[in-house]
């Protein structure tokens, strides 16, 4: 076998080893690599999700109540819903059925007290007219829960 072929095989083996190592690490860290938890995660993984964490989901339709600077709204992943209270300025994209991420913690009463609210936007880009036409024709995809 020529030396360059030996080197090529060695290189290949090293790459396979590194990538399988990286895969193992990523699988092991899976829970801490997520940026936010969904309301379902909060219910099912109550042991890992505690203290300060980020809650993500869609703003429940018809759930926004504003009292002064305080906004109350529901965050849903279409399975479970958690109610959020936030005192502060909301991002421009905040509205019903918009994906959002709220930072904060659960109060003893089960309401999520947010210290910060970020808006998520989806991967769809289109001009206003197209969005209108799609909604009219009924082909508008309802915003799906954020993965």
């Amino acid at each position: 076998m020529k030396r360059k072929h030996q080197r090529l095989i060695l290189l290949f083996l090293v790459l396979v080893l590194i990538s399988s190592g990286a895969t193992l690490i990523l699988i092991a860290l899976e829970d801490s690599l997520v940026y936010f938890y969904t309301p379902t995660d909060v219910k099912s993984k109550s042991s890992t999700v505690s203290g300060n964490f980020r809650l993500g989901g869609i703003v429940l339709k018809g759930s926004i109540r504003e009292v002064g600077t305080v906004t109350n709204f529901g965050v849903t992943d279409l399975e479970n819903t958690l109610f959020v209270r936030y005192d502060g300025i909301l991002p421009d994209l905040f509205r019903e059925e918009q994906g959002i991420v709220a930072e904060g913690s659960l109060s003893p009463t089960g309401i999520f007290i947010a210290t910060n609210v970020l808006a998520k936007h989806d991967e769809n880009y289109m001009p206003k007219e197209v969005a209108k036409a799609l909604k009219k024709s009924g082909r508008w995809k309802d915003s799906r829960p954020n993965k």
């Binding site: 790459l15 997520v34 991002p91 910060n116 970020l118 991967e123 769809n124 880009y125």
Partner: protein, 239 residues
């Protein structure tokens, strides 16, 4: 093809011929792309005019990733086949890729502030891109850290190959984990989620960025080869 270019002079001759065309095409594509992106294309239904940041952000991101893949491939070539030009190509590509990564991060935070409500978050996509930037910096530093340039090329090639695991992580971070960053719009199984009136300017800008990358890469390789020649002449004269 690989062996053909092991003669740097042959490569230099071809570069001389290609460069004027590349420069012209780059300028042309940038002019057309900027016109389409800033004036012709419509505002987004959700994001309004802010969406135009996409025409710089997304092509820069694509190039930052593909430039890294190119750098790693050239590193592999230089390690296994001791190809003289491959090592120089990897060394020349690193600062260009680092530049693209800086553009991605800056335009990304300019985009994030109005839309998300924050300049920066530590989600999987943003953090892995920051790691990419550090990999580029490490590559640049390592390839210049040795008296003998060949050793620098070898060391940095190993770094580039180890760092290659980060590329799929960046690409798929938005699918594997919850992130604030939205998933990919173009590379998905169903049709792209971008309206054609926005997709066309995006693709023109991507081509412009690619041509720019190619032009700068050739210029850098050329100047690297020339400075090698000068070094060789100097050594001869001293003797």
């Amino acid at each position: 093809m690989i062996n053909y270019f092991s003669n740097p002079n042959r490569f230099l001759k071809l570069t001389e011929k290609l460069l004027p065309w590349l420069v012209g095409l780059t300028i042309l594509f940038f002019l057309v792309g900027v016109y389409f992106g800033l004036l012709y294309s419509p505002a987004d239904y959700q994001q309004g005019e802010t969406v135009r940041i996409m025409y710089v952000h997304v092509p820069a991101a694509w190039l930052a990733l593909s430039c890294y893949a190119f750098m790693a491939a050239m590193g592999a070539l230089s390690l296994t086949y001791k190809h003289p030009l491959a090592g120089i190509a990897a060394r020349s590509a690193a600062p260009i890729g680092a530049g693209f990564t800086v553009i991605v991060i800056i335009t990304g935070s300019l985009w994030g502030k109005p839309i998300w409500g924050t300049w920066w978050v530590w989600d999987a996509r943003l953090s892995s891109v920051l790691v990419l930037f550090f990999l580029y910096l490490g590559h640049i530093a390592l390839s210049h850290a040795f008296e003998n340039p060949l050793r620098g090329i070898r060391a940095s090639a190993i770094l580039a190959l180890v760092g290659l695991v980060n590329i799929p992580i960046i690409k798929f971070s938005v699918d594997w984990w919850n992130t604030l960053h939205q998933p990919a719009s173009l590379t998905r199984f169903d049709a792209p989620a971008i309206d054609p009136s926005m997709l066309i300017p995006l693709i023109i800008m991507a081509l412009a960025f690619f041509l720019y990358f190619l032009t700068i890469l050739l210029v850098r390789i050329k100047s690297e080869l020339t400075s090698q020649k000068i070094r060789a002449i100097n050594i001869k004269m001293i003797k």
